[in-house]
């Protein structure tokens, strides 16, 4: 019974409600996986540095008006810390030569132009490793310890072609902004002649589509960044996507790590590619505000966007209706099978812990599927978060007490926002 004047001893007894422990564990896992801000800054400075280099006086490509920008997970805000110090951050860069067209240069010559400049860049910046080349891009591997390699994709504009294509499919033509044509050295005929037949790519369109799938959550967090900086009149567009982390981005990061661990144990060659994971997750996401809810929704529904067309699985590129992200599943059906096995494993493993109310138990259980280093680091985050707050909340004025516990500190305690209870 409560009297009229009561004392409330707020003890640290283990009593948890709902799945709050699960939510906290998931949030801390996402925090731990997130790439540190200084790495984002490094990535930004590196591609900008390359852009400036390509515009120097001695540049052989300056007249072709090269524009350098970032694509892939760094552009989407979904990169994850490498699982070990042996692995690199994979920085995907586009160099689009805006004054060139598909009919003004051969793919092979475009590739040569870029490669020569990258060689000069490597020499100028003292990068030890040679420029490497693969089917579609050139790669710069930075020094040991830098943990960065840069895949540089040469391209020419392809907006008009993409706009027509999107129009013919009654798709949003605005997604054609920034569409590019790229090189493919495996397609030897088209690679070595002047032709209009270049492979298409649309990284900026994809980034726009990805933003559109979570625009409310994204802008809410961008606004919070501006508010924290006191820039109340600035536009949310001034805050890069990678400066914030939404539930969708966090979910993708966690699922990517789960995928990495699962396929490392089963068969790395069958690993689900990130663009498939990102696309299906984005389709399945429906505005959940908590990462744990977003993961549950994504895992439940991510298979729904996989179409069957004449017996072939299709995961359509939302910014190019003719591109099937799962095209290799037809030749390698074991990849399709592996995708569904992984999805089922993820459903079971996240489903099994979502009702646990103790974040410690959640992390114990998930350590098998996400790796012990990650879950231990998340556990430390929970501990240090609690510790630092206890310290910051403890005023010296409380009778010199050194015992742990909640205290009224210097903070303004009164709520300013209405709350709804039920």
């Amino acid at each position: 019974m409560i009297g009229t004047q009561n004392r409330y001893k707020l003890e640290r007894t283990a009593f948890y409600l709902g799945n709050v422990g699960y939510n906290i564990a998931i949030e801390k896992l996402a925090e731990e996986l997130a790439v540190p801000q200084d790495r984002f800054d490094q990535a930004e400075s590196r591609y900008k540095d390359l852009g400036e280099f390509l515009h120097r006086n001695e540049s052989k490509v300056c007249d072709f008006d090269p524009e350098v920008y970032i694509q892939g997970s760094f552009a989407l805000g979904t990169p994850t810390k490498p699982a070990s110090s042996d692995e690199d951050y994979d920085l995907d860069i586009v160099v689009v030569f805006r004054s060139l067209t598909k009919m003004s240069i051969k793919q092979a010559d475009l590739r040569c132009l870029l490669k020569d400049e990258l060689k000069a860049y490597r020499k100028e910046r003292g990068i030890h490793n040679e420029v490497e080349e693969s089917r579609r891009c050139c790669t710069l591997v930075y020094a040991e310890g830098a943990q960065f390699h840069m895949d540089v994709l040469p391209a020419v504009p392809n907006e008009a072609n993409m706009r027509m294509l999107l129009s013919s499919y009654l798709a949003d033509e605005a997604l054609a902004d920034g569409a590019i044509a790229i090189t493919d050295s495996d397609e030897t005929t088209a690679y070595n002649i002047i032709t209009d037949n270049w492979p298409r790519s649309n990284p900026r369109g994809f980034a726009s589509w990805f933003k559109s799938r979570q625009i409310e959550q994204l802008n809410e967090r961008r606004r919070a960044v501006l508010d924290a900086q006191g820039k109340v009149t600035a536009s949310v567009e001034d805050v890069p996507v990678f400066r914030v982390r939404t539930p969708l981005q966090s979910s993708i990061m966690i699922l990517k790590r789960h995928r990495d661990e699962w396929f490392a144990e089963k068969d790395p060659d069958l690993k689900v590619i990130s663009i498939i994971l990102t696309t299906l997750s984005s389709h399945a996401y429906s505005g959940e505000n908590q990462v744990s809810d977003a993961i549950a929704k994504i895992l439940r529904d991510m298979h729904l966007t996989i179409e069957q067309r004449g017996g072939v699985s299709w995961i359509v590129n939302p910014t190019d209706p003719t591109e099937n992200f799962a095209d290799r599943w037809e030749k390698y059906p074991e990849r399709r099978t592996a995708f569904f096995r992984w999805l089922e494993a993820a459903r079971q493993e996240f489903g099994a812990v979502q009702k646990f109310s103790d974040s410690g138990i959640v992390l114990n259980e998930l350590s098998r599927s996400l790796g012990n280093p990650l879950t231990e680091a998340a556990r430390s985050r929970i501990s240090s978060s609690a510790g630092s707050r206890a310290v910051s909340a403890a005023p010296a004025a409380v009778g010199g007490a050194s015992a742990p516990g909640l205290v009224f500190g210097e903070e303004e305690r009164r709520p300013t926002e209405p709350k709804g209870f039920g």
């Binding site: 009297g3 009229t4 009778g399 516990g405 709520p415 300013t416």
Partner: protein
Amino acid sequence: MRGCLKLGGIREIGGWLAAEQLAPGDFELVGFTVDLDVGTHNRFASLPNTHGAQLDDILAANSDRAGRMDYLGEWHSHPTFAPVPSDIDVAAMTKMVEKSGPSFATLLIVRLLGTATLQATITTFQRGLPPEHGQLITDHDHPTPVLLGMDAHNKKKEQS
């Protein structure tokens, strides 16, 4: 508080808790604010404007405890179901301590059984941590009602 709960009937009522810090983790409830008007049978809204003025009255009436008293948390009734935090309650408190409000706060939920028996639970929400059950200790040495929030509210009601 029983008087308030009787007035509320089957509608949820609630407000803010004002407490004095006795030691770390040890608080004495000095008073509470109350809003008898906004609740329904299963919803209650805690509005800062309504409760801020009542809290000022409580602090003014306890000026001898100045510096040790402050907003402790929220309370509301569950007249028709168990006095434990609902998912909505947990979400509202978690959002407050994680985002806009104090770094910790308590949630007291009460239910009046019959005319005299009061059931209650108290839960602590702290930023970065899961909710924790708090222990409620009745101090029988101080039986005199000091419900300034309720008194202030009732005075206003009487005047109106």
